[in-house]
């Protein structure tokens, strides 16, 4: 059996049989990998707590016919803080669910891997507004999946400017001439926040002081945008405290 090595982030796990787990990982080199961790649920297993969701690990796998098998796992960063706090854990769960949705098997995406790593690192620092960090991650995730939203030019005719209408279907802001009747209005505060979600430094995001109303509206818009373009809402999203 062929052996290979890669680093990855644990997205989620499923119980298998009496003591095993199937682990979904986002690896740096091979995209999504589904592998079996044998005996991981037994106390004193050689994997211990290393393969819990959010863990960043260095792994060695056996290539299997159907699923690969985890042979070794060394911890790089446990991100244990994200698991131990309810709000952070709900945000982290939504992040990994989004990555699980977008990632493909045998399709390398270093940018997706680094996006998830940045998102989890920022959460692990216990920011003041973890949901804002999550919204930034989700908007960048949809952009990475091929649906980059534009806020500084009309998404239809390209006319530059701070346009006041947002269309989820058109994929961004629209000028007055291109806006269909009944399109949702984008107020300047929400527009500024959405632009920050897409482009601002991670360290700044979780401490950005914005009206709670604007924060919630931008979060809802990001999730509608994601749902429209990725086909299905994320289950964990509803449980994020806002």
């Amino acid at each position: 059996m062929a052996l290979y090595r890669d680093q990855g982030i644990v997205l989620r796990t499923y119980k298998l049989g009496e003591t095993d787990r199937i682990v979904h990982l986002l690896t740096q080199g091979r995209g999504k990998v589904r592998a079996v961790a044998k005996g991981v649920r037994r106390p004193g297993s050689r994997f211990g707590g290393r393969l819990e969701p959010f863990s960043h690990v260095d792994l060695q796998f056996y290539e299997g016919r159907n699923l690969d098998i985890v042979n070794q796992a060394e911890l790089i960063t446990p991100f244990a803080t994200v698991r131990s706090d309810w709000a952070l854990s709900a945000c982290g769960s939504t992040m990994v669910e989004g990555a699980d949705r977008v990632a493909q098997e045998d399709e390398r995406s270093n940018r997706l891997f680094l996006l998830l790593l940045d998102g989890l690192r920022t959460l692990a620092a216990a920011p003041q507004f973890p949901a804002v960090v999550l919204d930034a991650y989700l908007l960048r995730l949809v952009s990475l999946a091929g649906y980059h939203p534009y806020f500084d030019a009309c998404s239809s005719c390209g006319a530059p400017g701070a346009h006041g209408v947002f269309s989820i279907a058109a994929g961004g802001a629209l000028c007055r001439r291109c806006a269909p009747p009944g399109a949702s209005v984008l107020d300047p505060a929400s527009r500024a926040l959405l632009m920050a979600l897409l482009g601002a430094d991670w360290a700044v995001l979780g401490a950005t002081a914005v009206e709670p109303r604007t924060r919630r509206a931008a979060g809802a818009l990001v999730h509608s945008f994601l749902t429209y373009h990725l086909g299905k809402p994320l289950r964990a999203w509803d449980l994020v405290p806002r």
Partner: protein, 197 residues
């Protein structure tokens, strides 16, 4: 594909946790081969389980009466409540003989990724018990995995506003094991949960 009753049984067994299609097939053919009396005893045990066993009206542990054995026992300390995920966790803690209080079974754990939130668990009933009963301490004994940690953290926040002491069971090294073989996560937890001697 088999036909009729054999296939029906394979499908039913295959829906049980931890039973794959191959095991389901093996079990079905085993049952086909055993004595009729043995098969009937198994069938009766399943029916009796559904008829006689219900959930304790107070703590949601499994029970044959309105209230379970622990809740009815006057020797148990009513001021300490241990919160667990499942009835089988009650059995595990009972076996230690270390705990003399009562229980509250949540019926699962919060798992955002599976869409399981606080509303799907017996958390509202827990809060109601804290209002009605004379409870001074709540011990959170959810599993030390991602769902159990999220649940403990959620409950910790929720109960902070109430006049009750909240503690979390310690997690650490397996007894009889060697320190050098412990993984970093477990060893780290053992350190943060250390106590004075």
């Amino acid at each position: 594909m088999y036909e009729g009753p054999v296939q029906d049984l394979i499908e039913e067994l295959g829906r049980l946790p931890g039973v794959g299609p191959k095991s389901a097939q093996r079990l079905a053919f085993h049952l086909l081969a055993v004595d009729r009396a043995d098969a009937e005893r198994l069938a009766r045990a399943i029916v009796q389980l559904k008829e006689r066993v219900r959930f304790c009206a107070r703590c949601f542990n499994v029970s044959e009466h309105e209230e379970c054995r622990v809740c009815r026992d006057p020797r148990r300390d009513p001021s300490v409540l241990c919160v667990v995920e499942e009835p089988r966790d009650v059995q595990a803690i009972e076996k230690t003989g270390e705990f003399r209080g009562r229980y509250h079974v949540l019926g699962g754990a919060i798992s955002p990724i599976d869409g399981v939130g606080p509303d799907q668990l017996h958390i509202r009933q827990l809060v109601a018990r804290l209002g009605e009963e004379d409870i001074g301490e709540v011990v959170l004994a959810t599993n030390p995995n991602i769902e159990g940690e999220a649940t403990a953290s959620y409950l910790g926040r929720l109960l902070k506003a109430m006049d009750v002491r909240v503690s979390r069971i310690a997690s650490g090294l397996p007894v009889g094991g060697d320190l050098e073989y412990a993984d970093e996560v477990t060893l780290g937890r053992a350190f943060s949960g250390r106590r004075e001697l």
